[in-house]
Symmetry: C2
Subunit: 187 residues, 2 copies
Amino acid sequence: MSPRAKCAASTRDTMLASARRRFLEESYENVGLRDIARDVGVDVALVGRYFGSKENLFHEVLRGMRCDWLDSDIGAEELPAFLAAMVLRKEEAEDREDLDRLLIILRSASSPKASELVRTAFREDVIEPVARLLDVPDAELRVAVAFSILTGTSVMRTFMGVEPLLACCEHGLEQKLTRLLREALSE
Amino acid sequence: MSPRAKCAASTRDTMLASARRRFLEESYENVGLRDIARDVGVDVALVGRYFGSKENLFHEVLRGMRCDWLDSDIGAEELPAFLAAMVLRKEEAEDREDLDRLLIILRSASSPKASELVRTAFREDVIEPVARLLDVPDAELRVAVAFSILTGTSVMRTFMGVEPLLACCEHGLEQKLTRLLREALSE
DNA sequence: AGGTTATGTCAACGGCTGTAGACATAAAAA
DNA sequence: TTTTTATGTCTACAGCCGTTGACATAACCT
């Protein structure tokens, strides 16, 4: 009907936020630009105009979620426990986007249009930075194995809805995961 | 042009084979019925007619790939090594469809139309049968963790193309995986 | 006030999708 | 041969998708 107020940057951010939420719960091709536009209360054409293409929107969503594995001053010793806690979502409140970003990447892992972006993002922003935390031989291989465990757990929980893994706090799942990660990282 | 020879059962099987191959490499929504029809050299309408709906075709693909974790007479002891070898595709030649079936399931894990099917298939045909092989408390949880490792590794290798994991034979990856699985299964 | 720019709407295109019904032809039966 | 049945083809329909260009109106500037 009537054009909204000013402040394009604000609506652009809202779009990005909506896109982030959508891409977290659906794969690349199952997120429609019209869905995002509806969330913001805006016409489809506008999101196309602000971001050029859907592919670029996805790219910006990923770029806007820089993960900070490194910012936390975590030694290689505490890393396994930290990663296990993160993947089990111990702290919903804290604004840790790391896991969300990882889940977005995994969601669209087998989407032709997004796969390239997703692969390089995973390699450059996850594997390599974490590998730099360790100074052992075969660091990347160890980190790759560790994140196989982590992403596997996430996939089982989030995508496959495997029951025994959803009741996370009990059964000492976190300890088990920590132990596995420790073994994966420091042989 | 001219209608093909007879034998509907044969062309139906060819469709299923093509669908299996396609669903192995693309997610549910990225596999078009027209692609399958083209593979078989047949019109789209026919695949729609033999299988009713795309969803049912996917269902039949999964049904036609009964996995046989149990058929092999494997004790709980050899299980970790067996699973590690399977996920690393040691035997391409042998007609083991288990891994393919698992990969198909993972491919379409976040496809709304297929997710229900995929979840129950994973639970009923993977988690539960393997859990029955073990007679320990929390068998399902252990198996769930073990398959977190396995599917994680598969995802990293197949979907994300993580380099260090692709050179599988070297670096003792198989041994590492076996060790992790053993720890996951028998606490 | 008048003019200009930013912000957003509207309409539509071309393409692809799964699905359905009417039609054609080869094989089999009478 | 004639009839019937199985096997496939052809046409087309809605529906969704991302993308584009032309238009409208609010906000700002002078």
